[in-house]
């Protein structure tokens, strides 16, 4: 440890080299961060055990959490030997706890995952504290040369450790995200309406046949298409001139109008739903596509206007002035210069209002009482009433409906996110 004396400028306590003082094996550094995380995950597992009402198991997990935290606190520091022994002992104890919990029952997939959060940290800790370069560092048997070597090793290993942690985190997120997707696919190809059971253990197209062969699905699709396309058209016709005026003109009432547009966007549909419903009912627009088109184009209007204003702002004014000098009037300027230039933006806005209308549920639920007038969201939800739930058909229909929507969302994610949070991220 103090074999090197050439670093005499460090004075009395500076018998160690710079490398020695800086060096902590990457494994130990990783454990410092990972062990608290493992404790956190085990806390979640504890909640799961509480759900199952499994007393002994809860006690075991609780014990493991405490041990993990103690292990974190007493990790070796490369000097005090007792820390190494304590650490090894604690890690072994956690390992045993994991083993016990695994032996006590016939393990489900979830059990395997839960126990792996005891096994993995404890096994890694035990191995790293006992063997290899990190093991000898923990034992305090390290000289300057080894420290130099270790630093170089840390440098090459640290990114890999980090990548490992990142992927572990991301894979967990991915698992949570895809679970419902896998489940839906499984239900759609399983015979009957079984909600649980093994995944992909049977295959049938009966649900797809039932859905695609039935009239209702196509009727709902037709309704949804009419409503969504109508909404897009009407919404754009209203929003484009307004967005252009807000972007280009200074006029009396501009600020007030824009403020109102922004404010309205924040109100939930529910507060105008009752009067809306009564007006629609009086005008006989319930159960018609027109009623929904009118309602949707107005609800999506403020955001569309804001989106378009942002896009029009990006068209240089000088272009319009050039066109004016070239003899265009204001309307021609818009159609020959501004519109062609902002066409991609208009398309995004159109897509936005289309998807909003395509996915909307609340208004469609209230305005459509007849099965024939259902749009897809209400239709699909109607497959899952309190009784007689057609989960298989629902799953098959969901897949058919979702695929195009998901593709659109993924393709245009950037623009849609920008649009949805337009105004939000400003300032």
């Amino acid at each position: 440890m103090n074999g090197n004396t050439h670093n005499s400028t460090d004075g009395g306590q500076g018998s160690a080299t710079l490398a020695e003082r800086w060096y902590v094996p990457v494994e130990i550094r990783a454990l410092r961060v990972w062990l608290p995380f493992a404790a956190l995950v085990n806390l979640l597992i504890l909640a799961g055990e509480a759900l199952r009402g499994n007393g002994a198991e809860q006690l075991g997990v609780l014990g493991a959490i405490v041990l993990l935290l103690i292990l974190r606190a007493s990790l070796p520091d490369g000097r005090q030997r007792w820390r190494r022994y304590a650490g090894q002992g604690l890690a072994a104890a956690i390992l045993v706890l994991g083993l016990l919990s695994l032996l006590r029952r016939d393990a489900t997939f979830y059990d395997l995952w839960a126990t792996s959060w005891l096994f993995a940290p404890s096994a890694l800790a035990l191995y790293w504290m006992s063997a290899g370069l990190s093991g000898s560092w923990c034992a305090g048997a390290q000289d300057a040369g080894a420290a130099e070597l270790g630093l170089a090793r840390n440098r090459s290993l640290a990114p890999r450790f980090e990548a490992f942690a990142l992927h572990t985190f991301l894979i967990h997120a991915v698992a949570l995200v895809v679970a419902p997707v896998i489940w839906i696919v499984d239900v759609s190809i399983s015979p009957g309406n079984i909600l649980g059971g093994a995944i992909f253990d049977a295959f049938t197209l009966e649900h797809f046949r039932a859905v695609l062969g039935g009239e209702a699905f196509w009727l709902w699709t037709r309704n949804s298409l009419v409503v969504a396309l109508g909404t897009t058209l009407v919404g754009l016709l209203l929003a484009i001139p307004a967005g252009y005026a807000f972007s280009r003109y200074q006029f009396a009432g501009r600020k007030g109008a824009m403020f109102v547009f922004m404010l309205i966007q924040m109100f939930p549909g529910i507060i105008i739903l009752v009067p809306y419903f009564m007006v629609m009912k009086t005008l006989g627009l319930l159960n018609t596509s027109l009623g929904l088109i009118v309602a949707y184009s107005v609800t999506a209007l403020p955001l569309c206007v804001w989106m378009l204003k942002g896009f029009f702002d990006a068209v240089p004014r000088a272009l319009e002035e050039a066109a004016l000098l070239d003899g265009c009037n204001r309307v021609e300027v818009f159609f020959f210069v501004v519109l062609p230039l902002s066409l991609p933006a208009v398309a995004i806005t159109a897509l936005f209002s289309f998807l909003t209308a395509w996915n909307e549920f609340l208004l469609a639920l209230v305005f459509n009482t007849s099965n024939d007038a259902y749009t897809l969201p209400v239709g699909l939800a109607s497959m899952i009433p309190a009784t007689g739930q057609l989960w298989g058909d629902f799953a098959a229909a969901s897949i058919v409906v979702s695929i195009p929507v998901v593709i659109l969302f993924v393709l245009f994610q950037q623009s849609l996110i920008q649009g949805m949070s337009s105004g939000a991220v400003k300032g």
Partner: protein, 499 residues
């Protein structure tokens, strides 16, 4: 109506005859069941049947079949509803007039389970139901089939002998509603919007801004649409809040002052539902921001392999239509669903108030994280990498880089997006409606355990039909939201973006 009278008498007679036949035909089945139509209890589009039977352990429920013509087999009829036979000691007797199919046992409203379905006690020997959806003035054939625990019928379903009933209460073709008031109001709104625009235009002209002559014309369609379909309903809604409007009074509601607001505040669970709404919104936004930020930071790491794959997959909850994801979670969380399968349990997550609340919040968290992730990803990419390089040279740790460099620089995004997220979550309806409909049920007119203000207003309006009370709720929510929106607009300095 008068010409139908004799028919009614005739029907009653036929019914009586048929009942005798039914009773006779029932002999082969020991302990026959007897179905009768209670003509005295005629109601609009409803036929009330009474069923007397001998209780038996084999009976797990009853199916009520009906058709517009005589039938013998269930294949020719439609299933109207089912009644379960189960232990009712833990169940409450349901409300008499909320649900469509009102049923009674022992002269009292029948027991209802947590889903609202009727349940008869195993010891009971009769029940009666007012079957809704019956065409007035037309004969309906009705048969009741007892079923066993496995769902199989306990009688021969190919030789049924239905009873015939009819309801004479006329189809109350309410005269087509008077559209004139609405049309007058709408034209008034349109005209005043146009007048406002003309006034503003004159102001512009006076200030010599001839360039913006067309601006008001451009804004006019959007503004008129907004005025007729947003301002007008809001004003109409405020008016409704002071009236006794309900399902049966449409268009002839009367002013009743603050009574609706009194109902709202005196009602049980006002503060509970308000509190839960805030818990719901705050916990969701916190989780959305925290997890979204964590994922964005993780995806932003240099040299991460498979970034695009991760990104695309993690976007799914945002890209899949929300109602589909929520219904999928609904299925997965059923006692026989995937989640219980993985845990090796059979918990009904939607049963207890606590677990139902936790579950709706968790599902909504699942839905909302990707949007935040994307927003933060965009903001992170805009941060200069040189900033982190300098920090690296200064020996700043990763955590401190995040804490003192990333977070402060994200504040411009973080704060407004959180506020927007709060407003969105506050306003959200689908998750709760499609998962629990606000259940577990707490009592008639009372918000359920998982109801937020928004879903509760929906229930008040469209399940209980109390439009006036719902409007009063809406006005209150409106006031609360004006406060939030104001804070949001102030905070984001959106008005500066306007200028």
């Amino acid at each position: 109506m008068t010409p139908h009278r004799p028919d009614a008498g005739l029907t009653a007679w036929i019914c009586a005859a048929l009942l005798l036949c039914a009773a006779g035909a029932g002999v082969p089945h020991a302990k026959a069941q007897q179905v009768s139509v209670d003509d005295a209890a005629q109601a609009y589009r409803q036929i009330r049947i009474e069923v007397d039977y001998a209780p038996a352990e084999t009976i797990a429920g009853f199916e009520i079949w009906y058709a517009g013509q005589a039938f013998e087999s269930t294949g020719e009829a439609e299933l109207h509803s089912t009644i379960r036979v189960a232990d009712t000691s833990a169940l409450a007797r349901g409300p008499e007039d909320v649900l469509f199919d009102r049923c009674w046992s022992d002269g009292l409203p029948i027991h209802r389970d947590s889903a609202g379905s009727p349940v008869a006690d195993p010891d009971a020997s009769n029940w009666s139901c007012a079957l809704s959806g019956m065409t007035p003035g037309a004969e309906q054939w009705i048969a009741v089939v007892p079923v066993g625990a496995d769902g199989a019928p306990l009688v021969d379903t190919e030789s049924l002998q239905p009873v015939v009933g009819r309801t004479e209460v006329p189809d109350e073709r309410t005269p087509p509603p008077d559209t004139r008031p609405v049309l007058y109001a709408l034209s008034l709104v349109v005209l005043s919007t146009v007048a406002l625009l003309l006034f503003l235009r004159r102001q512009d002209a006076r200030q010599g801004r001839s360039k913006s002559r067309l601006a008001h014309v451009y804004v006019a369609p959007a503004l008129i649409a907004l005025a007729t379909l947003t301002f007008y309903p809001i004003l109409y809604g405020i008016w409704l809040a002071f009236t006794n409007a309900d399902q049966s009074r449409l268009g002839d509601e009367a002013w009743i002052g603050l009574a609706n607001f009194a109902t709202v505040f005196a009602g049980p669970g006002v503060w509970r539902v308000t509190l839960f709404t805030f818990v719901w919104a705050v916990s969701n936004v916190l989780a959305h921001v925290a997890l979204g930020l964590a994922l964005a930071v993780a995806l932003d790491r240099r040299g991460l392999r498979g970034r695009m794959v991760y990104r695309t997959i993690l976007l799914l909850p945002w890209a899949i239509p929300g109602y589909i994801s929520v219904l999928a979670w609904n299925g997965m969380l059923q006692p026989d669903g995937l989640v219980n399968g993985l845990l090796g349990t059979a918990i009904d997550f939607f049963d207890g108030a606590g677990s139902a609340r936790t579950v709706v919040i968790l599902v909504n968290i699942w839905l909302g994280v990707p949007f935040m992730m994307m927003v933060f990803s965009g903001a992170l990419q805009a941060l200069p990498s040189s900033m982190y390089e300098v920090a690296e040279i200064d020996g700043v740790s990763r955590w401190n880089q995040f804490r003192h460099l990333t977070l402060p620089n994200l504040k411009g995004t973080l704060v407004p997006v959180s506020l927007l997220g709060f407003i969105w979550t506050f306003n959200s309806f689908n998750t709760i409606y499609l998962l629990t409909r606000g259940n577990p049920y707490s009592g008639f007119g009372e918000p359920g355990a998982t109801d937020t203000l928004i879903t509760h207003v929906f229930a008040v309006a469209f399940e209980y039909g109390q439009y006036g009370v719902a409007a009063a709720w809406s006005v209150l929510i409106f006031l609360v939201l004006i406060g939030f929106s104001w804070a949001y607009l102030k905070r984001t300095r959106a008005m500066e973006a306007v200028a």
